[in-house]
Point group: C2
Chain length 247, copies 2
Amino acid sequence: MNLVIVEHDEVSWPEGLVRLTGARAAHLIDVLKAAPGAEVRVGLLDGPRGVASITGIGAGVVDLQCVFETEVPPRPRVDLLLALPRPKVMRRLWAQIAALGVGRVVLTNAWRVERDYFDAQILSPECYRPLLIEGLQQARDTRLPEVSVHKRFRILIEDDLDTLFAGELRLLANPSLGGTPSVRAAVSRQPAERVLVAIGPEGGWNDFEIQLLESHGFQSVSMGARTLRSDTACVALLALVHQALEG
Amino acid sequence: MNLVIVEHDEVSWPEGLVRLTGARAAHLIDVLKAAPGAEVRVGLLDGPRGVASITGIGAGVVDLQCVFETEVPPRPRVDLLLALPRPKVMRRLWAQIAALGVGRVVLTNAWRVERDYFDAQILSPECYRPLLIEGLQQARDTRLPEVSVHKRFRILIEDDLDTLFAGELRLLANPSLGGTPSVRAAVSRQPAERVLVAIGPEGGWNDFEIQLLESHGFQSVSMGARTLRSDTACVALLALVHQALEG
């Protein structure tokens, strides 16, 4: 935990006092060996970062006095359209997605996605929100990715996409095809404020899905000749897009 | 499984006959619904890829007749020096490392690595070799990464490194420091046949370790301002180096 995230309604305003219990308090006490008077980095969820002084430590309780900066970290410039992976894989991905930096995550059905994946607990906010916050605390970010789940691929692409992702460069990761540009080439050819990347299910999008994506502005990019598991592909691709955006 | 890996001593030469049992046979029968006469992609471990005809299927048994190409896939041009992560994280990493493509993996101790990580089962070849092969089967590669485990960081760097990694460009992933070049900039500034990347433990290398690495030719590169968990950093960095090497 490189940043302790607190939520707006946990803070007594305007004094900036917070009483931590549970996992965050335990981490400060047991792992970081925090003592009264010490300072820790804090962040207000979807707000600014800051510094907190530890004003008291009790059994499983840590009291903080926070001073926040004025500036809020920018929203990550990458968004993710992900064919829903198996629940076990999705569980592992949440924190990594938030740590790498994603503005919005759209989870979608596809031909090769098993229907019952949508019943998984891991799609409930109670389950994924703490995992996203864990990723933010790792990466020292405060901007919680927005999440939506779409069971009907065609309606998502035809009706909802332009509202969710207006004006974004749209990329589609495909196993290497002749002449497919790299992520970097695609981003530098068409500079954009935000990039939306689509990652298919295990086994890939089917032909209909690829055509629908292409007819809605998605350009194929290559990630090399190696076929990756969807969680590996997700981490790799987010890293490549971020690096391409940074120039 | 996008490629069925077989080992040299599983094949009857020169006919190319293989009898599969266990996980590979089960996958062909249950997941790929393979039937006699069908063809599957095969690869000889550390040898060429090829195509196999299914000549027979029994209870948990699949018979193949393989025809291999003449050319062996090139060894991946990236090597990895990794401060040993927690066993749970390391277990997840093996297949991903092999899928992304690594020639050699060197696992090392460091100040912030817990000593007892070295006792973990996951460092025995019986345990990691099948996971590496799983990654190769995912990525359609045949080149098994070489693995070595080093309990003494200083001896590794001072005595063994030049033998293990002669003439490689050496990069050290550091949380963003002013003026640190990107992976791409470092690779394009100093073209090299092979690249060795060093990834530190949770909490990072200590000052002594960074100095020792720098005095042995490691150049710091930036992965952006976000601090990543070591498995996320590993996947992200391997993707960035591969893309940089591909131009």
